[in-house]
Point group: C2
Chain length 224, copies 2
């Protein structure tokens, strides 16, 4: 890991896939940073001051300048530390990478929330159809080992929520949204991604997430 004299802090919560994105990107870049766990029931002064709009993690604090919103942070990281680029250099390829990253945030996550957390059965069914369609689009988009080509790029990092979180969350909720038989290419990609040495080292323990999302299931679904 490269040494850096700069002050870099990541305001974090282990269970958040959005924090996971930033964590992976910083480690792919070889940046040293402090991982500061926030208690969302008792948010730190630093969190409230550095993300007054959303008051959410992740926040990257770099030499006292704070940046919020995981996709915005990923672009900042790539522009600030230019080694191991996560965005392509060609403007058109950059546009495509941004398009698919945004697609994951706008479509996959929204559909997954609906499919898993809605109390209305019809809404849950609709969410399941939408995530199916969205994952098929991603399945068709995957041309190489990674969305970024031979190396991990911003779309792969954004999609950690599909590669690592979704299989655990769907198990906690007793659903099957993302399976190897329906999405064989995406499944192979998820294995390659999760087993990438740097990614693997920085993913939170499966058991930690399972307990957390089973708690979600109990509170949001089972008890209603």
């Amino acid at each position: 890991m490269a040494a850096n004299k700069e002050d870099v802090k990541l305001l974090a919560m282990v269970e958040s896939p959005f924090v996971g994105r930033v964590d992976i990107a910083l480690n792919l870049k070889g940046i040293q940073y402090k991982y500061e766990v926030e208690n969302l029931k008792n948010k730190s002064e630093l969190l409230l001051k550095s993300n007054p709009v959303y008051k959410k993690v992740p926040v990257l604090v770099h030499n006292e300048k704070s940046i919020s919103e995981s996709l915005v942070i990923l672009e900042y990281i790539d522009e600030t530390w230019t080694q191991n680029p996560i965005l392509p250099s060609d403007p058109y390829k950059r546009a495509l990478a941004r398009f698919w990253s945004k697609f994951i945030d706008d479509k996959v996550i929204d559909a997954a929330r609906k499919a898993l957390y809605s109390h209305d059965e019809k809404e849950r069914e609709k969410g399941a159809e939408e995530i199916d369609e969205a994952l098929h689009l991603l399945e068709n988009e995957l041309k190489d080992k990674f969305f970024g080509g031979e190396e991990i790029g911003i779309v792969d990092i954004t999609a950690v929520i599909i590669a690592y979180w979704l299989p655990i969350i769907q198990e906690a909720f007793g659903e099957k949204l993302f399976t190897s038989d329906k999405f064989p290419k995406l499944y192979n990609w998820s294995q390659d991604f999760n087993n990438h040495p740097i990614v693997k080292e920085h993913l939170p323990p499966r058991e930690t997430l399972m307990i957390y999302y089973k708690g979600h299931y109990e509170r949001h679904i089972a008890s209603k």
Copy 2:
């Protein structure tokens, strides 16, 4: 307007504020392009082929490569034609510009839709409160003539929906969400923005939008 030999097309719909963003950015850059109006009830082959995921305008087609999603297109335009930059050069300032552009898309537009289009009175009230809060955050963020400083930047362009569209839409719906007494700085900014010579020349006629959004009001609200 600078000459360019390249083939640039904007698949468009006059009434769309998202198209308006791209139109303004291309003109601020002095790019020559064809403005191709789509009929959304009978979409062109080119639209279906170039934006298969959303099948929506705007789409920028540059030398047969197509880019969708207005914020993604704005970044592409800035990286492809570097004159009159719309994003700052400093990575931190770029991050802030991306944060506020995304904020407008995620918060202001979502709240405005709820405040204007929801059939549930409580939802409409909630939307009105949310847009009030979001516009106050933008009011506080406005430090110079424009969000971009002395020149128009990506946040200003993204916010054309507030500067030009919102006053017309709220009038069509008989609502008062954005007013000069509640948001004096933002109101002054909107006047400066709308009257910028290049912006002014490329905004759609007020009357065209009024007819279109009164139609929305009749179909979505008045007839229910």
